[in-house]
Every structure is written in C-alpha cells, then in structure tokens.
Amino acid sequence: MPEQRTQYHFLKPEDVLKLRSYEFAPRMIVDGYFAGTHRSSHKGQSADFFDYREYSPGDDIRSIDWKVFARSDRYFVRLFEQYTDMVCYLFLDSSGSMGYGKPFTKLEYCSFFAAALSYLVIKQGDLVSVTVTDDGIREHFPAGSTHGHLTNILNCLERNRPGRRTNLAQALLRATPLLKKRGILIIISDLLDSPGRFFTALNPYLHRGFEVMIFHILHPEELKMPPRGYVRFEDMETGRHLTTDSDTILKGYVRAVEQARLNVRALSIRKGVTYTFASTQTHYFNLFDEFTAKRGRSTAARLNGIR
C-alpha cells in the first residue's frame, strides 16, 4: 500500500492549483495501448478522418467507403486518426553533485519539477514513469497513471537523497530494457558528466523514436563562482579535494562552464533533443512556461508537416 500523506513537500496544494492551467503533451505521435488524448501512430476508430487507402484483402469491409466505390468502381477503405495514451519517462539525476545549493539544492529543485510534471501527466490521463539515478539506477517506477502511482512517485521524491557520482550514461544504458514503450524521455540533471558518453547512451532511445527532453539545472554559484581566495574545493560526489587560489581560476571556470553548456546545447540540436537550461534561481514553473512555448512552436510545425 502506498504511503498516504496529506501534504507533500514537492507538490503542495497551491502548486496543484497553479498547475491546473498547464498542459503537457508530446510533440510527436505516440504509441499507446489505450485510448487517450494523443494522436497515435496507428490508425483506428475515431471521428477524425485521415485518408483513403485502396482495399487490400484482410481489411475490415466495414471500413470500405461505398460512396467512393459507387463513383469509381474501386474499393477504398477510410482511415481515421487513432487517439491513444502517452508514456512519459522521467529520469531524475540524484547524484552527489545534485545536493549542492542553498537555500534549496538542485535535487530539491528538480524534485519540485518532477513532481509537478508527474502530476500534470497523470492528471491528463497519461502514464508517467520515474527513474532515480546516480551512477546507476537507484529507483525505478514503471509507467502508471493512477493516483496511487503518483503518490508512490511523490513518496519516492520525498525520501530521495543525493547519492554517488553522476553517471547518466550508465543509468540510461541500464534502463533501456525497462522502457519498453516509446514515449517521452525527460532527463533532469546538472550534466556534470562527459557529454559525449551521455549522448551516446541516448542513441538507442532516439533510434527507437523516443522524444528526448533534457532539463539542465545548475545552481547560480556554479555558473559564476564567487571569489573566495585561497580555498580547498571539495567534490561532493567523490570527496576529492583541490586546493587553489579561486580568484585566479574564476575567469577560466566561468568560461569552461559556459563552454560545456554550449557544447551540450549543440549536441542536443544535432541529435534532435530538446534542451532547456535553468538555474535554481528561477522558479520551476518558468520551466513549464518556457517548455510549453517551445513545444507549442515545434509541435505545431511538426503536425502541420505531417498533415
């Protein structure tokens, strides 16, 4: 039995109220098992006519358009749009580095976003799957769309703590057999890992037709390191330390972080992955706004193209 709580830290009632006005939809056509609100790649029964196709043996004769037969003396079957449900796979990076930041950590920030997203997906009747990763898979929730499923996810987020090193590539590779149905793959991480390996690990998903979305979350101090003088930097993931004069590396560090961000962005564009960057300073609702805006533009374009 899922744990019953009246209030969750990462999904407060006021957040639920705000989320009413949001909608989360894939920009692609999905493969679902059940009827839903999303256009399916399969054609089936619905009110939306899609196209004609010449009859071939085995087709349901009920789908033959007799009026066309009367005019052309040929058998054509009518095709209709099929609407199905969507599966949203959430990958939440819970490595040690995600524990960085004040007043709330990157992990907390990402948890807020993941909870809201999960709620949103389930609210519109789709399925959501959550995978908590560090250098592997720490916790995995298969796709579900029930309230209980949401409760389980929220409970998981509540107890989740920063883990070991970041190794998203490893986690993605291991999760490949777990993600059976094509859907939306959302990765929420600080991406403090080799982008090359990470994008290599994404290849099987992209090949299978997943829509991949990356939310790159960093703390403001990670973007612009404040001058601290002679310091010993301690790695939160590995415990390793490095002593240096931070003032002397400030410029180099900022340049390196910016370069890494641009690198990930460029790779995302090349792979057809949606890349969204945010610092923990901005409210996670803004992510939805930006995300929605991006999706609105791209989905419309895509759908127009299909038609």
Binding site: M236, T248, A256, A260
Partner: protein, 687 residues
C-alpha cells in the same frame, strides 16, 4: 680571500630569510574549505592555471627571500678581503715603502706617469696606516735613499717627501734597495714592505724575494701596463772619434723599437750646425743601425744630439754626445839617424799633409819627447833609434798617449846592434836580433802578411801598388810571439809588427828606407802605408760619455781658474746653468779635478772657466730602462715568497680595510624589490 662583518651579531637575523618561505607554506596549508558539486569543470582550469602559477610563486618566493637576506647582510656590513691573508696588526704598524723612481717610471700612460700613479698609491698606503704606525720610504734608482734614517712616526714628513720627490733618469738597482726596505722592518714585531713599481722586466727579473724574514710581508703594487710601446736611441759611435776639420766622419747610432708593432722612425742628427735625417723601419722588439756621414770644416768642440720622435717615454728619445774637430793630425818625427831614409820619410808625411790637408809634420828633437803630450802629438815616429839612451826616450814611450812607430835603422846599427829590451820590460815577447844581409843576387822581397789588417786595406786588389816589387838588401831579425805581423819578408821574417804595449798600439818598423838598402821608399806603396799608419793610429780623443746617475770626475788643466769654474747643462735648447756647488775642484795627487756628484739629467755638461770650455761631456739615460715591458703577474708572484702579494693599485684600500660589500647587497635588495613589483604588475595586467 676572506669575508668579515662589521656587525656580525646581525647575521643571526639571516634566519628571517626563512620567513617568506614559512609564510608561503603557511598560506598554502590553511585554505578555506569550499564544497563544490563537482570538480569536473574546476580541475582542468586549475591544471591549466597552475602551470603558470607555480613558477610564478617560486619566482616571487625566491625574490622575497633574496630581499630579506640582502637586507640582513646589508646591515651586517660585510667586508671582503680579496687577498688570502691580512697582515697582523703588529705588521701593519711597521711599514716600509719601496718606491721606484727609475727612468721607466717617467712613462706616460693615459695622461699620468707611472711615477704619478706610484705617488698616489704610496699616499694611499700612508693614509691607510693605523694611528701610531711607523713608516719610512726607500727611493729606488741607481742607488737607494731613504726619507728618514729609520722608521718614523712622522707620516707628514713622508707624505711631503712623496709629493715633492722628482722621478729620476737613472736605472733601478733593485736588490740593495729591496734589502734595505726589508732591513727597515726586520725586527721582532715584523712589518710590511710595499713595493710600488712598474716591475720592469729588465730590472726586476733577478730580484730575489725569497730570502725574506718570516715576519715580513711584501706587497707588490704594480703601477704600469704590462706592454707599453717605446722606441729609443741606443748607442752612438763616432768614427774616427776625433776627426780633423774637413775630414768625413761617421756617426753611427742604434735605434730600438720596444713595442709589439713595427714602426718607422725618422732619426735626426744635430752636430754643430750640421743636421742630418734618416729613416729606419724597425720590426717589433728589434733594433737597427743608422749612420750619418758628416764633414765639418770648423775645428773645436761641438755638442752632438741624435733624436727620434717623442713617445710615452721621452727621455730616451734623445742621446747626447760631443765631438771635437781637430785642426790636423800632428805627427812628430824624431830623427836619430840622419840618412836619406829620414828625408824620404819626412817627405812622405809632408806629401800627406799637402794631399789631405789633415796631417801636420813636426820636427821633434829628442829632448822634446817628454813634452810630446803637451804638444798634442798623435803619432811619433822614432827614426833610426837603436833602443839605447837617452833615458827620456824610453820614458816618453811608456808615458805618452801618442802612438809610437819605431823605425829601425836602415843598416846594422853599429857594433852593438839594436837593444829591444824595452819590449821585455813591458812584458812583450818580442826581440830585435842582428842585421840579416840578403844575398846580393837574391834581395829580400816583402808582402802583406795579414790581408785583413786595416793598415793594408788600401792595397786590396793592387789599388795602391804591389809590395812585392820592392827589393831589400837586408833587414833585422825579429823574433818572438808578442807582436802581430802585418807585413813580412819572403822568408816570413816580420817587416811591420804591431805590438800591444802598455795598452797602446806600438809599431815596430823593420823596413829599411835608405835607398842604399832598399828601393821601398821610392816605390808607390810607401806613401799609402805611411799615410794609413798616421791616419789610423792617431790618438782617439773622444769625449767621455756618462750614464745618468754616474758621478763625473775629470782632470783640469793646471792653469784652470778654479774660482770661475762653471757648469752648464744643455739639452738642445738654451744651456742651463747648474749650481756652482755641483762642480767641486779636488786637488788629487797634485792634479786639479772637477767632480760632479751625480749627473742627474741627460744632456751635455760643459765645464768652463773664464778662458773657455774645458770639458764637454755627455750624460745619457741608461738604455736598459727603455724596455718598458713589465713582469707578468704570475711570474712576479712566483718570484715572491709566500708572503708576497700582487695587487692592483685600485685595491690598496682593501689591504687593510677590505672592500665594503653593503652597496652591492643594497643594490641586490633594490633589484629584488623592483623585480617583484614589476613581475606582479605584469602578471596582474596579463590576468
């Protein structure tokens, strides 16, 4: 070599040099702990910047450490003593200065003479002496002289002496002066001898430092460059030494080049009103000869000067001399046998006088032989003397300066023959025997026995006739090895013999001149041999020459007005009257002499009274001083004993007080500070 510190206690602060290192290490070990999400982006950046940062840190650390160390050492006032040992305090209290004032110290190097440098160095040494120190100066020249009898604490006296002492024209006689200087400080306490000299190789190569007492330290202060080019006039010779008026005489002189480069020199001769000039090219460190042929018609004493262009050492560029032009060669003929031979001999001399105008025949009675010198005779011919009485003949031969020619009689010479005991008395192995008559059908013939002898040079190649054409019916037998046969008869019997008698040349003429005995006096060889005999054997009345530093002592004629005796020194220009006291007339063995203690300067010294010039002599600088090459540093050190040091004049101060090093450390500190500031600024701008 030694290093000492004026404030050695401050050296303990050298530990402060560790301060920058400690600060560096301290700062490094206490960094602020800053957790970061990951070192993923930080590590490569740090790696890149550390590459530059680490050497910078080390450079800054070194500069700061250097700065601190330089400051500490600066205030410790280090003093460097460049030579291995400092004299003990007792030694520095007793100092003798041996200062070279020989001619070579006149050499001008860069606007300052070596002696000037030596004076400056000596004054510096005096200045360095501690209070209560005793010192003395030994002046080095041909002899030595000291400022005080022994070591004195009157340093002011020594200082004045150094300032006022002139450089000499003399050569350096090193060893006695060195021994004197060592003797001055040789005592139980020991002392120091500062030798301030150019260490001219020619004078110092044999100096012996090896016998120094163990408590005497010798410090050599070199004031000259090792190689300074110089050229000089060396020996001057006049031939003949006393030419007669109208006779050509030759002035030959040596020109030396004491420099590493070849030089071309113009040599100028001035004698009386005659001026001659010759050019000569000399290889490095070599000498050559230049000769001038001159003729003077006036008789008298003339100063002579040979010079080359002036150089760093001008004193040796001129050499002085004097030449006396005689009116004629005075030949005295004392005839003791009145035969035709005497007439022919006189005729021959008279003919020579007519032809050359240089010979004057003087009939000399036997009684006047004693006064031959006063008559100024150059050659005396004793014709027909048989070797016996009168006594004044033998006395005149031994006493007179004139050249005697003993012309043996043209016949047996009476029953007693010839007495040649004169030779035996003078220690010469020569004897005149009996008359040897020749076979009537086979007369004696004569030939040149020594073709190289100058007398018979005129017969070379038959120019002046053939000796062999004369016939002789007889001749004296001459035996013994004491003479040198110039002409001889066919049977090798001597005909003309030169004998070294009482350090003068004496001729024995065994050639019959009487026409009854020989036809030689009528032959064409007779006149040339007589002329050569007279011309070549006149008295060489050359002028004595002295070297500067020598004392001059000359005889005076008995009728000299000693009260009006004066002395002039001429160096080419207007003669300079020297103080009267320098010429002292000393009655010596009944003879008046003029005496000058020391010829201090080169030039012509003219002694004269109211009647005119009595003596004209020249004094010249010693040729040995012209070679200005100095001993090599290493050789001088090797020559020295263990306590002999070699110093440049600039390091005299360092002997006692050492070289203060604080300015160098101050400079070092400033440089370190500036370098640090500049580097930090540059790095900041770069970052």
């Amino acid at each position: 070599m030694a290093l000492s510190f004026a404030n050695p206690w401050l050296l303990s602060f050298l530990a402060l040099g560790a301060l920058p290192v400690l600060i560096h290490l301290f700062a490094r070990r206490r960094p602020r702990r800053v957790p970061v999400s990951s070192l993923y982006h930080i590590r490569p950046v740090v790696k890149q910047t550390q590459k530059l940062r680490r050497p910078r840190d080390i450079i800054i650390l070194i500069l700061r450490t250097l700065l601190v160390l330089a400051l500490v050492i600066l205030f410790s006032r280090p003093i460097w003593h460049p030579k291995r040992s400092l004299a003990r305090s007792s030694q520095t209290n007793r100092v003798a200065l041996l200062i070279d004032r020989s001619l070579s110290m006149q050499c001008n190097e860069g606007g300052l003479t070596r002696f000037g440098s030596a004076q400056a160095a000596a004054l510096q040494v005096l200045e360095m002496l501690p209070a209560g120190a005793q010192a003395n100066i030994v002046w080095l020249a041909s002899g030595y002289e000291t400022t005080a009898d022994k070591l004195t604490d009157n340093i002011e006296l020594l200082r004045r002496d150094i300032e006022n002492k002139p450089v000499s024209y003399e050569m350096a006689s090193v060893q006695p002066a060195l021994d004197k200087a060592v003797e001055l400080v040789s005592s139980r306490e020991g002392g120091q001898v500062y030798v301030i000299s150019d260490f001219q190789t020619t004078n110092w190569k044999n100096a012996d430092f090896g016998r120094l007492p163990p408590n005497v330290q010798v410090l050599n202060i070199v004031v000259g460059r090792r190689q300074t080019p110089n050229h000089s006039i060396g020996k001057v010779e006049i031939s003949p030494a006393s030419p007669v008026a109208g006779e050509t005489f030759r002035v030959a002189c040596t020109v030396a080049n004491m420099g590493p480069d070849p030089v071309e020199q113009e040599v100028l001769l001035e004698v009386g009103t005659v001026i001659r000039q010759e050019k000569i090219t000399l290889a490095p460190y070599s000498q050559g000869n230049v000769s001038f042929d001159c003729t003077m018609k006036k008789r008298g004493r003339f100063p002579l000067k040979v010079s080359v262009s002036e150089d760093n050492l001008s004193a040796d560029n001129t050499r002085y001399g004097a030449v006396t032009i005689s009116p004629s060669i005075r030949v005295g003929v004392c005839g003791m046998a009145k035969d035709a031979g005497l007439r022919l001999l006189k005729n021959a001399i008279a003919t020579s006088a007519r032809e050359a105008g240089t010979v004057r025949l003087i009939e000399l009675p036997m009684q006047a032989l004693e006064t031959a010198d006063r008559m100024g005779l150059d050659v005396i011919l004793l014709y027909g003397w048989d070797g016996r009485g009168p006594a004044q003949v033998a006395a005149a031969i031994t006493a007179s300066k004139a050249t005697f020619v003993w012309v043996l009689p043209s016949g047996p010479g009476g029953a007693r023959g010839i007495d040649s005991s004169l030779f035996a008395k003078c220690g010469v192995d020569l004897a005149v025997g009996a008359w040897r008559r020749a076979d009537p059908g086979k007369p004696l013939s004569m030939a040149v026995a020594d073709p190289k002898h100058p007398l018979v040079g005129v017969f070379d190649g038959g120019r002046s006739g053939d000796m062999g054409l004369s016939d002789f019916r007889g001749a004296f037998q001459v035996t013994g090895d004491g003479g040198h046969t110039i002409l001889a008869y066919g049977d090798d019997a001597p005909a003309l013999v030169s004998v070294d008698l009482l350090k003068r040349t004496f001729f024995l003429w065994n050639i019959a001149l009487d026409p009854d005995t020989s036809n030689f006096a009528n032959s064409n060889t007779f006149l040339p041999i007589v002329q050569e005999l007279v011309l070549q054997n006149r008295i060489q009345k050359g002028h004595p020459t002295f070297v500067t530093g020598d004392s001059i002592s000359l005889p005076l004629p008995v009728d000299t007005d000693a009260a009006s005796l004066g002395l002039e020194l001429s160096q080419g220009g207007k003669p300079r009257q020297l103080p009267q006291r320098r010429a002292i007339v000393l009655p010596q063995k009944g003879q008046l002499r003029v005496f000058l203690e020391k010829a201090e300067e080169p030039g012509q010294y003219r002694f004269s009274d109211r009647s005119g010039t009595i003596h004209l002599v020249a004094a010249n600088v010693p040729a040995v001083e012209s070679d200005l090459r100095c001993l090599e540093k290493e050789k001088l050190q090797r020559r020295g004993s263990s306590s002999a040091l070699m110093l440049g004049k600039e390091s005299i101060r360092s002997i006692h007080k050492g070289i203060p090093l604080w300015p160098y450390f101050l400079a070092c500190g400033i440089v370190a500070f500036l370098a640090e500031s500049i580097l930090l600024a540059v790095w900041k701008v770069k970052e």
